[in-house]
Each structure stands twice: as C-alpha cells, then as structure tokens.
Amino acid sequence: MNDRKPPEPTDDFDARLSRARQSEQKRYGKTGDSSNQQQSGIGQAMRMGVEMVSAIAVGTAIGWLLDNWLDTSPWLKIVFILLGAVAGMLNVYRLASGYGYAAGYQKSDQEEDKGKN
C-alpha cells in the first residue's frame, strides 16, 4: 500500500470525490431520473386516464358540497365539473410533456440545473 503513489498528490479528497461522482452521474445519469421514460406506453395511458377522472371527480365533489352549502344547485356543480375537466387536462398535459406532477413548471428547471452540473 505504501509504495503505491496517489495519482495526483495535490488533489484533495473533495475534488476527487466530486470527480468520481460526476463520472458516475455521467454513467448512470440517464437511467437515474427517468420515471416518465421508463414506463411503458400503456402504463402512461393508464396514469393519464386516472389523472383525468380523479380531477373531474374532485371538481364534482367540490361543486356538490358548495351547492349544498350555498343552496345554488345546479350552477356551482356545472361550473366545478368544467373546472375539474380543465384541471384534468392540465394534469394530463403536464404528465405528457414531462413536467411531472409539479404545479407550475419546476421540473424542467431542475433538469436544466442537472445539465449544468
């Protein structure tokens, strides 16, 4: 052990560690963060269906509750079913375009940061 020289004596441990991490990320980076790509087409289709239906269900439930509370049946129900459908489409769009589930557009920023490192 003692007769073997370290590769670069001026190098401190942190620099070597970060270099090792970078090379590892280069190797595994592609497979590490690919929750969307890894899935099969039918899996993604299932997720989109569930996403769409659940948003409409939540919109309907909110409309129902508000209608019962404010005694405005059926108007708020109609409005919130439509809003729920829009929210469902928004969710599906986010899922399909790879933004993940993040409200707003945070996911793409993170990926940009990763590319810089």
Binding site: S35, S54, A55, Y101, G104
Partner: protein, 243 residues
C-alpha cells in the same frame, strides 16, 4: 357453491377477532392480519438479515441492502439532499406497500392494497403531511403553488380554482391508481382461474394464460409500489422546493 367461488369473494373483509368499543367496530380483520404479517415480515427481513454485518452479503442481506440503496437513490434523485429526513418514511411506505402487494400473490391470502380505503388512507396521510411541510417551510409563499409564476393577473380567478382542483386530485389519483391496479389484477386472475376446470381439456389455454398473468401481476406489484413511492417523493420535492 357459486358464491364461494365468485371472483370478488377474495376481497371480503372477515372479522377474525370481533371487537366493539363504544359502538365502533374495531374488529381485528383479515385485512389487519395481513398488515400485521407484512410489518412483521419486513422487520424480520431487515433485522435478521443485517445481523451478520458481513462484508460480502449473503442472499438476505443483499436483499435488504438493495432495497435500502434503491430507495436511497430514489429519494436522492427526486428530492435531493434535503430529502434525507424523509427517507425513513419513504422506505417504510415502499416496503409496506410492496409486501402488501406481494403477500397478496400467495394463494388464499388477502391483498389489503386492493381496498380503496386503505390506499386512500396512505394517500390522504401523505397529502396532508406534504401540505403541512410546504406550509411550515414556506409560510404564505406556499400559496404561490396555486399561481405559477409569469401568469397574467387577470388569469388568476380562473387559474387558481383549476390549480386547487389539480392539487386536490393528487391523493385521489394516487390512491385510485394503486387500488385499481391491484383489484383489477386479482379479479382477472380469479376470473381466468374460474375457466380452467369447466373447460376440461381446453382448460389448458386459460391455465397457460394464468401462468403468464401471475408473472405480470408480480411485476405490477413491484411497479405499483414503485410508482406510489416515486410520486410521494415528487410531492415531497414539490413541497420542499416549491418554485
């Protein structure tokens, strides 16, 4: 006879130890029994397999180490270094759901993840927890969740309800996905199993299909536990980082 072999009989909850406290039925059911079994199995796997501390792991130790590394990498990739405090929760969640799904693959057992109330309890707990984390970390900035930056002000009255519905639909879609996958798979297995004996010699065809389907179900058991976990990580990441 027909009733006992109905495809949905497997989902019936039977009280094993009837128990009533103040009008509440809190019997120890077969669902609770399988939850207990899965917790005991996870604990045994983790504690017993890591007792050796071998440098070169044996089979069980490498299962424990692999599952640890898998979830640790998942948390690091999706949440980042700030996600370390949530690792124990995410790991327990993943193992519990995975064991629930896999124990359900044993014949005559019960799949507790095939009941929506169970998965909704997971998802609701995660949803409330993640919302509280977001509120504590960012105080009122948390509300910017519901209005993405760069949106014109006149769009706000329309966009905020949509974002709130989108946010509220998370626990619903999270729980429905796991529950629907597990229930549909087990239903399908049982329906095809019902064809094998009545078809006589031709029953070999549904039987062959069943073998393939069982393999698929085991894959789905892993996949759904993984998806549930990765979505939990994404929600935690959202609450921590906001935008």
């Amino acid at each position: 006879m027909a009733d006992a072999h109905s495809p949905i009989t497997q989902f019936v909850i039977k009280p094993l130890i009837p128990l009533k406290v103040g009008g509440w039925d809190i019997s120890f059911t077969n669902s609770a029994a399988f939850m207990t079994i899965s917790i005991v199995a996870i604990t045994l796997l983790m504690v017993l397999s890591m007792r050796g501390h071998a440098l070169v792991p044996n089979r069980f130790q490498s299962i424990a180490e692999m599952s640890y590394m898998f979830i640790a990498n998942l948390v690091r990739d999706t949440v980042g270094p700030e996600g370390r405090p949530y690792f124990p929760f995410v790991f327990s969640l993943f193992m519990f759901i995975l064991f629930g799904n896999l124990l359900g693959m044993i014949p005559y057992s019960f799949t507790f993840t095939s009941h929506i109330i169970v998965t909704f309890a997971f998802a609701g707990f995660i949803f409330i927890g993640v919302t509280l984390i977001g509120i504590f970390k960012h105080k009122l900035h948390f509300l910017s969740f519901f209005l993405p930056p760069g949106v014109p002000v006149w769009m706000a009255p329309l966009l905020i309800p949509i974002e709130i519905i989108s946010y509220l639909s998370r626990p619903v879609s999270l729980s429905v996905r796991l529950f629907a996958n597990m229930m549909a798979g087990h239903l399908l297995l049982k329906v095809f199993a019902g064809f094998v004996i009545p078809l006589g010699l031709l029953g070999i065809m549904p039987l062959a299909f069943l073998v393939a389907l069982t393999g698929l179900e085991i894959v789905i058991a892993f996949l759904q536990a993984f998806i549930f976990t990765i979505l939990t990580c994404l929600y935690i990441s959202d609450a921590i980082h906001l935008h």
